[in-house]
Structures are given as structure tokens and as C-alpha cells.
């Protein structure tokens, strides 16, 4: 396979279409175990997803053949990846370490990493966020937040 053929496969829409086809085909398997009327809508949607993805794939490859350059998904992939990692990491920390500790760490961390570096501003903002959440949700609405799986046992 030549480099240009490889590039054609790495186009965002082509990769998306291929991804949808694989996932939808995989999800079609469990429909066989369902009652026909129960499987009707999910099977129709999955077949629809596959068919439409094939159409998307063909059209994108035609565009590639005509020399079209695909639009970039993001202008700053590292920042996007970092943002996702921090957000997913925050959810994991809340789950395992607890809500308040994780939030006290994540608010200043995210703001600092992405460019807001005023220590006093960060400290004030973190305190305001934590106190507001505690007052409104914990005291006012009696909502309980995760205390952390690590400390439960």
C-alpha cells in the first residue's frame, strides 16, 4: 500500500465511517436473540447506520480521489487530549478518592494548565466553588457526593 493510499484511509470521515460500521455490525449480533418485534427498531437503526456509513465512506474516498484535503478535527490536538484526560481523570478521582478532595485539586489544576496562573485568583475561585457547592447542595439540598471507594472499606 502506497503512502497516498494510507493517507486516504486516515481521513477523519473515513475513519469515522469505518468505526461506525464495525461497532454497528458488532451490535447487530445480540438482536438475533430478541423477539422479532423487539428487534425491529434496533436492527433497522443499526442496518441504517451501516448503510449510511458506507455512503459516507464512498463519498469521502471519492473526495480524496479528487485531491480534496480534509478539514482538521482540531487545531490543538495536545490541548484537547489533555482536556479529555483531565476530565476523565477527575471523574475517576471523584469515584475513588472522593468529591471534595478531587474538586479542590482539579479546579485550580485545570485552570492553571490551560493558562490562568494567578495564584490568588485560583485560591479564591477554588474556595468560592467548594463553599458554594457545600452550602447549596450539601446543606441546602441534602445531596450526598461520592466519598471515594478507596475509603469505603
Amino acid at each position: 500500500m502506497s503512502a497516498s493510499d494510507k493517507n486516504r484511509l486516515y481521513r477523519p470521515e473515513t475513519l469515522t465511517a469505518l468505526g461506525i460500521i464495525v461497532v454497528a455490525a458488532g451490535l447487530l449480533v445480540p438482536t438475533a436473540a430478541l423477539q422479532p418485534i423487539s428487534a425491529l427498531l434496533p436492527a433497522a437503526m443499526l442496518i441504517g447506520l451501516i448503510g449510511l456509513s458506507v455512503a459516507l465512506l464512498v463519498r469521502d474516498q471519492r473526495k480524496a480521489g479528487a485531491g480534496d484535503i480534509p478539514e482538521q478535527v482540531t487545531t490543538a490536538p495536545k490541548r484537547v487530549l489533555l482536556a479529555f484526560l483531565l476530565i476523565f481523570g477527575y471523574a475517576l478521582c471523584v469515584d475513588f478518592i472522593g468529591f471534595y478532595v478531587s474538586t479542590a485539586a482539579v479546579v485550580p489544576l485545570v485552570a492553571y494548565v490551560f493558562g490562568y496562573r494567578n495564584p490568588l485568583g485560583l485560591a479564591i475561585a477554588t474556595v468560592i466553588v467548594l463553599v458554594s457547592i457545600y452550602t447549596i447542595f450539601d446543606l441546602g439540598m441534602s445531596r450526598e457526593f461520592p466519598v471515594g471507594r478507596l475509603w469505603k472499606n
Binding site: 461506525i20 443499526l46 463519498r59 479546579v107 485550580p108 485545570v110 485552570a111
Partner: protein, 499 residues
């Protein structure tokens, strides 16, 4: 027909319901003023927090946010030439040149008065048109309701513009998500993969927060935006002094309100289309079209009237048929569902106090815009542009987690929301429309339930779906919605080829 509307008024004037609208308008202006944040995102984040609230308080907050955000988008449009919301793009054309010559305060006042007029007109349209339409839809049986759902999905896919294949993919994804959980009739598991948390299906709120709140947060963190405009000196006069100068815009206000209302009712169109159409029409009718784009206040009036006039009117098909006119209306449908209010024909019969109260809240929200967004507040709201975006992003992330966790008190929902968020981010970047996903989730289950009910009534005979005139009309409308844009595109191509 309209007596129920009057009966709902005293309830809306209660302290908590009215305060909700006031808070919503202020929050909406704040959100709209922050480039990158939108009414859709704000309402998505808000919905989970409204679980324990009275439905009218929750809906008042949403109505206020929607109205406020539509005006709030004008603030960065005028001061920075960065539209706060997509609907405020046309406001930049004349608003920014006005700010450059020291008339930023006046531009914002024109924007707030015009937004208010557009919002009031839209609320009246909702009050006048929705009740009679709801009476008609009450006559619908399961097969008609099924076709209404299909028509709604098709209209939002094909009238939204852009790529219909991507629109259809989005809708299929949404409908597929709606089937996850126990089968409504047989009780068999569908795509739960052994997770008990999925047995009740996927909550619309989880999908809304993931799709609409996470991508803007990533965008906030992705692009560092520096706002170094001096927003402290706008040269703002009291609004009562500038109001007489604005009266010459009355024709523009009327025309733009009519355009905004019409565009709002059309499924798939939206505030930005209304603002552009209205701007073009106002410019065409102007005696001095050459001044437009150089700081003509009438341009700001045209754009802002239209983008607010499509707010409540977008709810006419949403409340009566369950078909939202815009993305925000789709999210609002989710908000209604959270409170056990199924949009569609039965809403007006079962919950008249709530639905008519909601209409009044839209009207009050629009009126409050002038009071809350007026001369003094304009200066304060403009200072919001200096808030650090990374800090704002971090706070929204925390709010998203709290909101989704609070639904059922489990982290599983948070992980699910983050998964939808990642999908939403990719869809957004690859230009897959998001409203069909939400509509697919709302209408998918609804369509399936009514299809199966119709087939039971017809003892498995599929012809029952085409048996009466209303169903046949709906099928024809659905076909028109699908074929119409294709024919239109062909004609345009032929015209272009002829030169």
C-alpha cells in the same frame, strides 16, 4: 380555548416562579456573553439541577436563560466582534463598527430593546398559535402519532441543511440510544450488557449534558482567547434617553419579528438563519443600504429582533407535536421529560397550568430583558468578558459532574455522560448535527411504542399505518420534507449551470 391561559397567570406571578425567570434571564445574559457558551449548553447543564424543583420554577429558569442568552450573545458581538452565540453573528456587522466609534453602549441598548421586542412578539405567537394546534393534535391515534414522530425526525434532518447523510446517521444513533434498556412490552433486555443501571434506559439528561455541555468546555480550553477590550467605558446613556432615538426602527422591529417567528416555527432552522434573513431584508428595504456594515444601528435592531423572535415560536411545534424547531427547543423538550411532561398532544390536556404558565414565563422573560439588561447592567455584563476562560471551563466541568451524579446518585451515569461527551465532541468537529440525536432519543421510544400499539390494534396488519387521511397526509408531508430539498438543490444546480 384561551381561558386556561388566563387561569395560569396568577400561578406564574408567585414569588418562586417569577424569581426563577429573573434568575434565568440574568444567568442567560451571563452565558450568552461568554463566547463559546450557548443557551443550549446552559440549559443542558441546568436540567439535572431542576429535578427536585417545581416544574414551573424549572421551566421559568429555562425560559429566562433562553431569552437572556439570545441578547447576551450581542455583548461580545458588539464589543469584540466575536459572536457570543451563533445567532449573534449578524449583530457583529454593524454592532462592532458602532463600538469602534464610541457608540458601544448605544449599540447594546438597541440590542436589548430589539431582543425584548422580538421575545415579546414570539411569546404572543406561542400563546396564540399553540392552543388551537394542540386541539387538532388531540384527535391523533397511535398510527398518526407514529407518523408525527417520523415527520419530526425527517424534518429536522432534511431541513437543517448541511449533509443529509450525516443528519440521518445522527438520527439513527439517537433512535438506537432510545432502545437501550428493557423492552417496553416484553421486558427483555436490549443492549444493557449486564449493567443493571441501563435497564431503565438512558436518561435524556445524561445525553444532553454529554452532547451539549462537554464539547463547548473542551473548546473553551482548546483555544486561549484574550479579551483586552476596555469594557469599562462604553459611553452608555440611561436607556430612557436613548429610547426615543430607537423609535424609527419600528418597521424593522415588525418585519424582523415576523421573520423570526416564522423561522422559529420551521423545524431545523434557527436563530442565526432568522438573524441573517432579517438583516438582509432590512438592508434591502433601507433608504441608505450603503451605510450598512459600517455601524448602522438598524442592522443591530434587525438581527437582534429576529434572533429573539425565534425563541418561543420554536416551541410551537415542540409543545404541540413534540417536534422542536431549534436545538435549544430540543433540549427544552428534554427538560420537560425530566419533569414527567411528555411534549405532544396530551401535554395541553394533562398539564394546562404548567404549559400555559411556561408561555407566560417566556413573555415575562422578554419584558425583563430591558429591565435587567438595561443601561447600568449593560456595563456590568460587558465586564464578564474579562472572566478567565480556563477557570470558567473548570467550574463547568464540576457542575456537569454534580448535575449528572445527582440524577441517580451513581458514578456510572457520569462515565456514560463523558462517553457521550467524547462522541459529541467528535460529531461537532466532523459537522454531524446534534439536534437529530436528541430528537431521535425523544421520538425513538415514542415512535416505537405507538407503532407497536397501532400494529396491535390492526392485528399485525401494516396497512393500518396508512388507513386514515391524517396518516396519509403525514406520510406525504414526510416525503415532501425528504424530496423537497433534493429538488431544490437540483434546481439551484441547473440555475448555476445556466449562469
Amino acid at each position: 380555548m384561551y381561558t386556561e391561559l388566563l387561569h395560569a397567570l396568577p400561578n406564574v406571578l408567585g414569588f418562586s416562579n417569577f424569581a426563577a425567570v429573573v434568575i434565568g434571564v440574568i444567568a442567560g445574559i451571563v452565558v450568552g456573553a461568554m463566547p463559546g457558551l450557548s443557551a443550549t449548553m446552559a440549559i443542558s447543564v441546568l436540567v439535572p439541577f431542576t429535578f427536585g424543583l417545581d416544574p414551573l420554577v424549572a421551566l421559568g429558569l429555562m425560559a429566562g436563560i433562553y431569552n437572556g442568552a439570545m441578547y447576551g450573545g450581542a455583548i461580545p458581538s458588539v464589543l469584540l466582534r466575536i459572536p457570543g452565540t451563533p445567532a449573534a453573528v449578524a449583530t457583529t456587522f454593524d454592532g462592532y463598527p458602532m463600538a469602534q466609534r464610541g457608540e458601544g453602549g448605544y449599540a447594546l441598548q438597541v440590542a436589548v430593546v430589539s431582543s425584548s421586542i422580538g421575545g415579546i412578539a414570539s411569546a404572543f405567537a406561542l400563546m396564540l398559535l399553540a392552543p388551537p394546534l394542540s386541539k387538532v393534535t388531540l384527535l391523533f391515534g397511535p398510527s398518526e402519532v407514529f407518523w408525527v414522530a417520523v415527520f419530526g425526525l425527517c424534518s429536522i434532518i432534511f431541513l437543517l441543511g448541511g449533509n443529509p447523510v450525516k443528519g440521518l446517521l445522527s438520527a439513527c444513533f439517537g433512535v438506537f440510544v432510545s432502545v437501550v434498556g428493557a423492552d417496553p412490552i416484553y421486558g427483555s433486555d436490549r443492549y444493557t450488557f449486564g449493567f443493571l443501571e441501563l435497564l431503565d434506559g438512558i436518561s435524556i439528561v445524561i445525553l444532553l449534558v454529554g452532547l451539549y455541555a462537554l464539547p463547548p468546555v473542551i473548546d473553551l480550553l482548546e483555544v486561549p482567547l484574550k479579551t483586552d477590550t476596555d469594557t469599562n467605558r462604553l459611553g452608555t446613556e440611561p436607556i430612557w434617553r436613548t429610547l426615543p432615538r430607537m423609535m424609527r426602527f419600528w418597521k424593522t422591529w415588525l418585519r424582523s419579528a415576523a421573520i423570526g417567528i416564522w423561522i422559529g416555527i420551521l423545524p431545523g432552522a434557527g436563530g442565526s438563519m432568522a438573524a441573517f434573513m432579517s438583516y438582509n431584508e432590512a438592508r434591502r428595504s433601507s433608504k441608505n443600504p450603503d451605510d450598512w456594515g459600517k455601524g448602522e444601528p438598524e442592522g443591530v435592531a434587525a438581527s437582534e429582533t429576529a434572533n429573539n423572535a425565534d425563541t418561543a415560536s420554536a416551541l410551537i411545534p415542540a409543545l404541540t407535536l413534540g417536534i422542536p424547531g431549534t436545538a435549544v427547543a430540543a433540549v427544552m423538550l428534554g427538560g420537560l421529560l425530566v419533569h414527567g411532561l411528555q411534549p405532544g398532544p396530551m401535554l395541553f390536556r394533562n398539564n394546562p397550568d404548567v404549559v400555559f404558565g411556561f408561555m407566560w414565563q417566556f413573555l415575562f422573560g422578554a419584558i425583563l430583558l430591558v429591565l435587567l439588561g438595561g443601561s447600568l447592567a449593560t456595563n456590568s455584563f460587558a465586564r464578564l468578558l474579562n472572566l478567565p476562560r480556563p477557570l470558567l471551563g473548570a467550574v463547568i466541568i464540576v457542575l456537569m459532574l454534580i448535575g449528572v451524579y445527582s440524577i441517580n446518585g451513581r458514578m456510572f451515569d457520569v462515565y456514560l455522560m463523558l462517553g457521550f461527551g467524547a462522541i459529541g465532541y467528535l460529531m461537532d468537529k466532523l459537522k454531524f448535527p446534534l439536534p437529530p440525536v436528541v430528537l431521535g432519543l425523544i421520538l425513538g421510544g415514542f415512535a416505537e411504542e405507538n407503532l407497536r400499539l397501532a400494529l396491535r390494534i390492526g392485528r399485525g396488519d401494516w396497512s393500518v399505518l396508512f388507513a386514515n387521511t391524517v396518516s396519509q397526509v403525514l406520510v406525504l408531508l414526510t416525503l415532501a420534507v425528504i424530496v423537497g430539498p433534493i429538488i431544490k438543490r437540483r434546481f439551484f444546480k441547473k440555475d448555476e449551470a445556466r449562469g
